[in-house]
Symmetry: C2
Amino acid sequence: MKESPQSLSYSQLGQRASEPVITDLMHRALENSELLSLAAGFTDNITLPVDLVRRALERLGNEMPGAEYLQYGTNRGRAGLLIEVANWLNASESEAAPEPFTAESVFISNGSQQALYLAMQSLCDAGDIILVQQPTYFVFLELCRGLGIRAVSLPALADGGTDFAALSEFFLKLKTEHGAARIKALYLNSYYGNPSSRSVPVEEKRALGRALLDHALHVPVIEDAAYRELWFDHPYPAPSVFSLPEFDSLPRLYLGTFTKPLATGLKVGYGVCSHPEWMGKMLSLKGHQDFGTPNFNQSLIENILAAGEYGPHLERVRANYGEKAKIMGVALEASPLRKLGWSWETPLGGLYYWLRGPEGLDLSIGSAFCEQAVREGVLYVPGDLCVAEGDPKNFARLSFGSLAKEKLAEATERFVRVAVAHG
Amino acid sequence: MKESPQSLSYSQLGQRASEPVITDLMHRALENSELLSLAAGFTDNITLPVDLVRRALERLGNEMPGAEYLQYGTNRGRAGLLIEVANWLNASESEAAPEPFTAESVFISNGSQQALYLAMQSLCDAGDIILVQQPTYFVFLELCRGLGIRAVSLPALADGGTDFAALSEFFLKLKTEHGAARIKALYLNSYYGNPSSRSVPVEEKRALGRALLDHALHVPVIEDAAYRELWFDHPYPAPSVFSLPEFDSLPRLYLGTFTKPLATGLKVGYGVCSHPEWMGKMLSLKGHQDFGTPNFNQSLIENILAAGEYGPHLERVRANYGEKAKIMGVALEASPLRKLGWSWETPLGGLYYWLRGPEGLDLSIGSAFCEQAVREGVLYVPGDLCVAEGDPKNFARLSFGSLAKEKLAEATERFVRVAVAHG
């Protein structure tokens, strides 16, 4: 094999690397103002905390004459923000942890995305297995593929809940085929999950914990709560795995974020880890990658939290998304979609409608449906991206997050037109 | 081996992960106000762009009523900032690229640190070799160790320059022992390098390019220019590898940053890559890690650049560090250190003095010298951390970056007292 000088030999990781779908979706949404995007999980510009950030910067200027908020911080995160995060979780109505959350178990990440990456890097070699829900967060699936990790879906009922009747056989088969040691973690998207907007009820969560123990799967449980704050009428009542005794003997990583609920442009997330050694491993990897999330962004958020302005901001955000969910819901219910065999649950929080199309309908990228949607001027996330295996093509994620209210019904109607055309 | 339920099995990467030295140094500096730190590569609080950031935020508020600066951006970076970066490089006095830099070859990273990580991830598997200078950036050496990469120093002269007389034998030996295919890149810290503050003269750079080609090492060249803007009297005259024909046939990655010269708390760096496919691989990995550096930070910096405020800011920064380098230089020259066998070059830019102690003196972490320095109330970076192999113990890096001027002489004198006591 002759090599030209500019040919490059990549690592195994580099060889697997390919353009993430989210990048492409973001580009299409950002670069074409004609298209109405129901695809990207962007937040609504009108909820962005313009005044909060401006006021926080003013206060920082007054309170920190040394301008330390523009200086490097520590790798794990600002001490004050770690405390604010612990306090925030302790104040959560739905938590009932036997011990309060402490700042010592918290670290700050570049959105919760980075924490997911650190968790996977620290736990998994190529060929290892991660248990996921069906459907699950599609960027997490891409991340796993990038690292050579195999994501395997828990058996699921039609409503998205765990099919416990099938679980024992599933675990046995997985252990027999790959060896128990290959199974490295359970990843749960448990509050208004992306893409389904489904939350995991407390009984299901507890039963999952018991099932892991019953099958001697002493693996870390990663609970991704990125959408937890985005409830419409009341917080989802299930506590996190930190408050459920079934998980006491398992290493746990709880991921929260200020990205979706406060400002996607600030990109600050956090992890809470029950296992100090594991947290140390993740922080060591973070030390190599950036040795700390921007201290400026952390300072602003700490200041907003300390000023008590985050709660009132969330009330405005929740009201806005609740209203937008209704707008999309009305447009969908007014359409003939249900009659045509489509089905969906009305979300109680989060940013998404998860639509199941008629059996056999192909909504995947490159399908006639998808191409017609682009021609019709609307983008959605094809559901097959959100499923680890089996490649079901008749699902779509519609986001009501970013589009302005006045365009939301129109975008939904465009999608409906395509669906009706495909009968 | 009995496993307790909370014991965890890590990936190979996780097993290698250990607390980075930089984290520990940062902690000691941040958490003990009694100590005067000449260790951490922090910048000077008085140069932090408080007014620039405040004004930029005001302008953004006026210019972007949609508050898009607080929204998600794209994975590669803000289009406007990519253009500003290309323009900035094209305006550089010391560049003479045959073709101008273009925005298409630029991407934004979380400080240049993340770009280094992405480059290593995309190119190297565990066991691969990266060529480095002696001494070199110690966090890069840690990063390499974390990924299982072997950093190997080019043969060096006493002044830190490449020992070209020894280079052929060095390359032959390396290729024989490990195989040429294992050698994956050359990493050059070429402008006021960390820790030596040495810049690589144009003839040396060109000769390095020729040497790579002569030895059929068609490997990427990574030029880390993190300190390039921090010159005192005039910019270092050597152009980057993008402007030198010897490198035309090699993939090149040039790393710049706004972190040190503008604000460490914003943590925005950039890469310029001559090889689109390689850049695509790095961006794919970035997509998995965070799908974009905070758009807010990028927006602020783009706005500051577009307003023409970065140049005047740099003038203030350069004057300040030039003055501080003099203060430390005066304190060192007034001391008996040279008589005691110490030597150093006076830096012409950057943030560091690189001191060579008498042969046989042990300045490493945990040494009697180091412990006495802590008792005396001063921190430095032991030089052995900055060298890939051979473990020379008689070097120290003293930073004049972060300490206020009035404390700098005092801190230097503390260090001198320890050195005198160790004769």
